[in-house]
Subunit: 162 residues, 8 copies
Amino acid sequence: MNERASGDPRVGILFGSESDREVMSEAGKVLERFGVAHEMQAISAHRTPDAVRDYARQARDRGIRVLICGAGMAAHLAGAVAANTTLPVLGVPLPGGTLDGLDALLSTVQMPAGVPVATLAVGKAGARNAAVLALQILALGDEAVARRVDELKEAMARGERL
Amino acid sequence: MNERASGDPRVGILFGSESDREVMSEAGKVLERFGVAHEMQAISAHRTPDAVRDYARQARDRGIRVLICGAGMAAHLAGAVAANTTLPVLGVPLPGGTLDGLDALLSTVQMPAGVPVATLAVGKAGARNAAVLALQILALGDEAVARRVDELKEAMARGERL
Amino acid sequence: MNERASGDPRVGILFGSESDREVMSEAGKVLERFGVAHEMQAISAHRTPDAVRDYARQARDRGIRVLICGAGMAAHLAGAVAANTTLPVLGVPLPGGTLDGLDALLSTVQMPAGVPVATLAVGKAGARNAAVLALQILALGDEAVARRVDELKEAMARGERL
Amino acid sequence: MNERASGDPRVGILFGSESDREVMSEAGKVLERFGVAHEMQAISAHRTPDAVRDYARQARDRGIRVLICGAGMAAHLAGAVAANTTLPVLGVPLPGGTLDGLDALLSTVQMPAGVPVATLAVGKAGARNAAVLALQILALGDEAVARRVDELKEAMARGERL
Amino acid sequence: MNERASGDPRVGILFGSESDREVMSEAGKVLERFGVAHEMQAISAHRTPDAVRDYARQARDRGIRVLICGAGMAAHLAGAVAANTTLPVLGVPLPGGTLDGLDALLSTVQMPAGVPVATLAVGKAGARNAAVLALQILALGDEAVARRVDELKEAMARGERL
Amino acid sequence: MNERASGDPRVGILFGSESDREVMSEAGKVLERFGVAHEMQAISAHRTPDAVRDYARQARDRGIRVLICGAGMAAHLAGAVAANTTLPVLGVPLPGGTLDGLDALLSTVQMPAGVPVATLAVGKAGARNAAVLALQILALGDEAVARRVDELKEAMARGERL
Amino acid sequence: MNERASGDPRVGILFGSESDREVMSEAGKVLERFGVAHEMQAISAHRTPDAVRDYARQARDRGIRVLICGAGMAAHLAGAVAANTTLPVLGVPLPGGTLDGLDALLSTVQMPAGVPVATLAVGKAGARNAAVLALQILALGDEAVARRVDELKEAMARGERL
Amino acid sequence: MNERASGDPRVGILFGSESDREVMSEAGKVLERFGVAHEMQAISAHRTPDAVRDYARQARDRGIRVLICGAGMAAHLAGAVAANTTLPVLGVPLPGGTLDGLDALLSTVQMPAGVPVATLAVGKAGARNAAVLALQILALGDEAVARRVDELKEAMARGERL
């Protein structure tokens, strides 16, 4: 199942602070392993709001199909991105706040009508599953990805882990 | 933006109990309004586990592209469906448990590696946004849906609501 | 202590949805009673992100000195405003989410370093105290407001309520 | 009170991941000490749903009388087993989720009408008491077990610990 | 499945206050419907501790096989009973405390090693499932009860509810 | 303020498990320092219920005036003691449960009408303040203790700590 | 047990706002019924801090032996009183805040070393038990009160309620 | 942006215990870096209530313009200060309580009408942002501070951190 991802990135992975890179790179590793090119970028809804807006508005034209956003504390990043694109936005709440991730989870998932964020579990587990969800979404229009996702399902049934 | 959905359903909306139908029909109304055919069914991970398994395994071949699952309390439905398909599964936690939906949210979102559930907010707000997320996913491979999703974005920028 | 507020607004009161207007008007009533002109506007960080940005960036030049932002659920409004201004931003978390305001409180208060939001209590009590805090801030540079704030303190010591 | 358990297993101990084995083996040790044969198996409601179904459906015919299921995070294992058997199912929530076990506890205990899971405390304490509860259940039809359970009660009254 | 329960009670249903009787009678109705005789009694771990002790110590000799205890707030009843018997004790946390049942749930389920309480969901849902669990336990030694429990399983698979 | 406590114990300090002795000895140290004799004993509401009952019923006649009870998890000890005496019972919730002491706090404080437990903070801080509260209670009828409690107040006003 | 309380008040009941009077009068009713004179007063730690200080400092000399303080939200009243007296201070957390009384409970109970507040349950139940605790404290030095408290214990054992 | 703060302190930083000094000095460092003189003092609402009252009442006349108060547990300090001044009071909840800072957050933020505390995030992050908020408030009447606050905004937009 390990083949080298190449070509233009189809998934953008964003995170609010450089200190979040390690956790969110778990998503990148899964995409890499399934042969889907991606890009990663630290970007802050509060410190660099214009950068967030520009990235989100240009993502579709740059070939991005799914966005994965990781943030903790107030955790506004996924929402700020979703406000500026109609691409599917997957949110990964990160620990570190007063409720150790539950706060970020609720900030991420409770979006107003019309601006959804598809939310995954807190932290690394969520980052990995965000990548799997991105693969499942891409699989709807990409036979090669679909085949690899099915192979993962079969491997898990044999007792293997992601 | 209102056109009659027709043809085979592309989205399946499942819920754990007939008493959940009203809340989950909010998702159906949004899909209908955006011209995407869907089907709705009450089905229980605990009372009718075989029905859940069969539905999930046959969904892709029946033309379903996205699954929306609403459940409260232990809220295992979305997870039981995701265990049996590689289609994107969107989970809508429903209120009614001891933590009034937070429990269902955590049961829905905290899936093991390899079996993601894209989780939305609790209750009607989540049901509506699950439909919008389904539209955003379908839009990646359907120009007509993509155009309508963009129109929603523009309408919201003018102050309209979903 | 009741005198008619007139002149250009010195406090801007923002809220994420028209349904929040009633709660946030409690802040307006206090300002009015203390003779400080204000303006109120429904504006959404997610549905109308450009309007939020423009409002926040132009507020200082328009004579606004303090911003009061009320929002519920993901509650990103105060943070989105603070990202685009250096004026003091006071946040009023609103109930309605899964944790009935605690979620909005944590979304509002847990801002990243350099972009503070001064957070008040959830709901009407918070809206009223946001106005009092705005008065205390304005009082630092306005003798008339300072005198009225002191009179409130003395009135409370005599057993009166705000 | 220590005698070698032999014969066909009367208690099945299941857990969602190999990493849960150590905690759940606390239940096995108690059963062993009271002379009740058991078996242990890692099995996942989400990665290997068919294995869970088959195990649960065949357990009674294989002589199993009580099932003990440990799982964390979404913690669906006990519920998935209970959906497929009428044997008493005892659930042990495991820590590791966002609420550090409270989430698993609520996922385990909040079952729909007709499909109970007898829930114990989170983690090792719960695993040990699940075994004691299994012994109390078996004691209703087994004089030898009943005598040993009574001896435990008397030993505790003298100040001994389980 | 409805036959008249007769003979000596095999299940004792206890609750901490007369105001809990209505909720706990849900358990009694299920037992009645499945033909298992039971008895109900209000009894308080704090106001009438001797009555609790005496009831628990004499229950086995009076033919009781399973005890169901419902209590709210500090919710010590199930634990106080379990301290004085080796019969299986099923605990039903009741709402009304500061955490609306979560407090009672944690008071009920977190028992020390050697003194388990099999805990069900909060309130009526828990009371009903306590009865089903009692039936599953009795079914291990009673063919007639076992047959009825299996019939319930089949009925649920056909879409019926408890 | 340090004088040797002597004579019959006027305060009884109880705790549910030997592992709680270290925390609860903080209460003992404060009493010792203020010259009030006390006794300490591990005793379990669930493993040794008769010992708890006997201790509580005989305490007054043995000269005990205040009881301090520390327990974690289900935390029934203070309540079980209060059920069997009319002496003031002070409860110290101990950490270790799923909510890390909040569970024990709610189990301790939420007593039914007529059977109060005066509850202090979780852990060592609570143990120390339970002792101070016991001193304040004894001071109502003991001039020497009253004088020492006043001296503590004055020492704190000068910046000293307990 | 109902005799007319007369003479100088021995218990002071304070509350932060007139709207709390009804709940706190539950404490007064219990004291009245047991023949212990008391006084009640609305007084605010934040609006009238000097009144709180003066009341607390003069209470002992005025013959008060126990203070009962009820407050919600930030719930600082009991702590502000305890800071200014060495009499036993009993705290009754009141509902109304974001966590519906749990917040007030934690504000009340978590006092620094040397300044304890004996905390009771939230709301009316806590107010009633604060009165019973005050009676138990007074009973240590008052035979008549001690006898009535013992009679309450016996009445409860016969099934009566407070 | 680093210039030596000199002159009379314009910001007072208070904290409930010497052990809080390190966390709260984060606020002092930020003020220092932006050239605003401040003073720091340990002072306890419960152990030294008169010192708190006197400090708060004299602060304005001593030239203080903004007060920053950090406290944990019951966290009454900010409220006790706000009760005695009309200067803006910024509250920094500190971790260490049963809810690890959430308790202090709710104690700090939920002030009664007329006595606001502008609340920041828990711990060091909150302390730093309290200083930034103080700068934003001072900037309304001080061109030099305003310029430095604007420079911080621009620096953050270039990717720098506070």
